[in-house]
C-alpha cells in the first residue's frame, strides 16, 4: 500500500529560467520557487497496476522518486507499507530501496559491470547466496530474452537490450513494488509492447506496478487504473482509464 498525503515538493532556484517555467510558484525578486508537486493525495493498493500519465514536467518522475526517497517532500507524508518514508533515517533508506524495484528512463546500468553482473548486483545487495544468484539471474535473463548477451557490457547493448537488463534487475529480487519511469521512452514499438507485457505479467504474480509514461500506446494497452497529472496536481483518477490529454 502506497499513500501520498498532501505531498508538495518545491525547488528553490534563481531566475535563470524563462519566466514561464516559474509561473507555478511564487516569484520573489531573483529567487523563484518551482513547485514540482502541489498537494498530491493518492492511494495505491497492493497488487494494483497504476499508470501515471501527463505531459513532461507534470510531476510523474518526482512522484516516483519520493517512493525510493531519492527526493524528500517539502510538505506532506509518503507512506510505503505503513512506513513513513519521509522520516526514514539515512541508514534505513537502502532497506526501503531493496523492497522496491525501479526501472529508470535512462536505464542506470552499472557501466563497469556486465549484463549478468548488473542483474546479480540487485541480489547481492539483498544478501542472496551464490547459488540463488546463479539460478535467479539466469532465469530472469531468460524471461527478458537476454540470456545470449549476459556477458556483454552495457555499451555493447542496444537501447532496447539495456532496458531489458534494467527490467531484469528491477525484477530479480522479487520486489513488492515495481516502479517504472518511462520504461519505454527509448524503445521502438515492438520493444515497447514486450516491456509492457512483461510488466503486466509481473503484476499478475502479485507485484504492485506503478508506471509513469506519456506514451499513449503504453497506457492504453495496459487498460488499468490511470492517474492523470498536470502541473504537479492529480487532475484525473480513473479505474479503467484511457490516455486522454
Amino acid at each position: 500500500m502506497i499513500i501520498f498525503d498532501k505531498v508538495t515538493k518545491e525547488y528553490n532556484g534563481t531566475l535563470s529560467v524563462p519566466n514561464g517555467h516559474a509561473k507555478r510558484g511564487g516569484n520573489q525578486g531573483n529567487n523563484f520557487i518551482f513547485r514540482a508537486l502541489d498537494g498530491v493525495d493518492l492511494e495505491i493498493k497492493d497488487n494494483e497496476f497504476v499508470s501515471i500519465i501527463g505531459p513532461s514536467g507534470a510531476g510523474k518522475s518526482t512522484l516516483l522518486k519520493m517512493l525510493i526517497r531519492e527526493e524528500a517532500p517539502s510538505e506532506g507524508k509518503v507512506l510505503v507499507d505503513k512506513i513513513n518514508v519521509t522520516d526514514l533515517a539515512d541508514s534505513q533508506i537502502p532497506f526501503l530501496r531493496r523492497k522496491i524495484g525501479t526501472i529508470f528512463q535512462d536505464f542506470k546500468l552499472l557501466s563497469s559491470k556486465t549484463a549478468w553482473e548488473n542483474v546479480a548486483f540487485a541480489l547481492e545487495v539483498v544478501g542472496a547466496g551464490p547459488d540463488q544468484i546463479e539460478d535467479d539471474v539466469s532465469k530472469v535473463l531468460r524471461i527478458v530474452g537476454m540470456e545470449g548477451k549476459s556477458q556483454n557490457f552495457p555499451h555493447q547493448l542496444s537501447g532496447g537490450e539495456k532496458q531489458r537488463i534494467a527490467v531484469a534487475r528491477a525484477l530479480v529480487h522479487r520486489p513488492k513494488i515495481l516502479l517504472a519511469d518511462e520504461p519505454t521512452g527509448n524503445l521502438d514499438l515492438l520493444n515497447t509492447y514486450d516491456v509492457i507485457k512483461l510488466l503486466m505479467k509481473i503484476n499478475e504474480f502479485g507485484t504492485t506496478v506503478v508506471l509513469a509514461s506519456h506514451n499513449r500506446e503504453v497506457v492504453n494497452s495496459a487498460g488499468r487504473r490511470v492517474i492523470t497529472m498536470d502541473k504537479g496536481r492529480v487532475v484525473k483518477d480513473q479505474e479503467q482509464g484511457k490516455y486522454a490529454i
Partner: protein
Amino acid sequence: MEFNKQNLIRVIESGWVNFKRNSWLAFGTVGIMVLALLIFAGLVAFNVVSKTAINSLEEKVDVTAYLKTDVSDGEAQDVAKIIGEISGISYVNYISRDQALEDFKKRHQAEELIQQAILELGENPLQASLEIKAVDSREYASLVSFLEKSSFSGLIDKIDFYENQTVISRIQKISSGLKAGGILVTLILSVIAVLITFNTVRLTIYSQKQEIEIMRLVGASNWHIRGPFVVEGAIYGIIAGLAVLIIFYPIVYLTSPRIQAFIPSVNLTAYFTGFFGQMLILVFSLGITLGVVSSVIAVRRYLKI
C-alpha cells in the same frame, strides 16, 4: 548488509574485478604511489647513509696529548688513569715511545730511506702520547682546557686538538644540519606524496561517481559500495609496494659500491639486505594504508544519502 564471509568474499572479488577493468586508471594511480613510496624508501636510505657517515667521522675525531720525552711509563699510566675516570670519556689509549716507534716503522716498512734514517739517528725521536676519545665530540673543548689546567699539565708537551678543532665543529654542524634537514624533507615529501596519491585515487573514484549513485538507488548499503573501492585501493598499495621493492633493491645494489668508495663505512647493500623483512613490511603497510585511506575518504564524499 551485515558483515559475513560471503559478503567479504564478494567485496574482495568485486574489488579485484574493478581493478582489472580499470587497468589504465589503475596504472596511473599505482605509478603515483610507486613514486611516493620510492621517496620514502629513498629517505630511509638517505638517513642510513648520513647517520653512518656522521658516526664514522665522529669516531675518527680524538684528542692526542703528546707527553714530554722525560715522562716515565709509570707517570704516563697514572695520567691515563685519571683522564679515563672523567665522565664523558669513552677511552684513553696510552702509546709509549717504543710503541710509537714500532708503529712508525711498521707504517713505513716499504720506505728504506726512512728506515735507514731511524737507524742512523740511534735514539728514539718520537714522543709518548695519550689518545683520548670522548663519547660526544662536543666534549673535546672542555677536555682540552681541563688538561691544560690540570696538575699534570707540566708533563704534556702539546695537545693536537687545536688542529682538529675546525674539523670537529664542522662535522657537528653538518651532523645536526643533516638531521634537521632530513626530518624536514621527510615531512614535506610525505605530505606531498600523500596528497598526490589521495588526489589520484579520488579522481579514479570520481570517474565512477555515477556508478556509486546507481548502486545507492538500487539499495546497496554503504559498506557494499565502499568495500570494493577499499579493496581496490589496497590492491593498488600492494602492487605499488611490490614495484617499489623491485625498483629499489637493484638501485641500492648498483649504487652501494660507489657510496662505499666515498664513505667506506656505509654498506647500503648489507644494510637493506639485513633489514629486508622490515623494508617489506614498511613498504607494503605504507602502500596499503595510503591506498585504503585515500579510497575511504574519496568514496565517503560520494556516499551522502
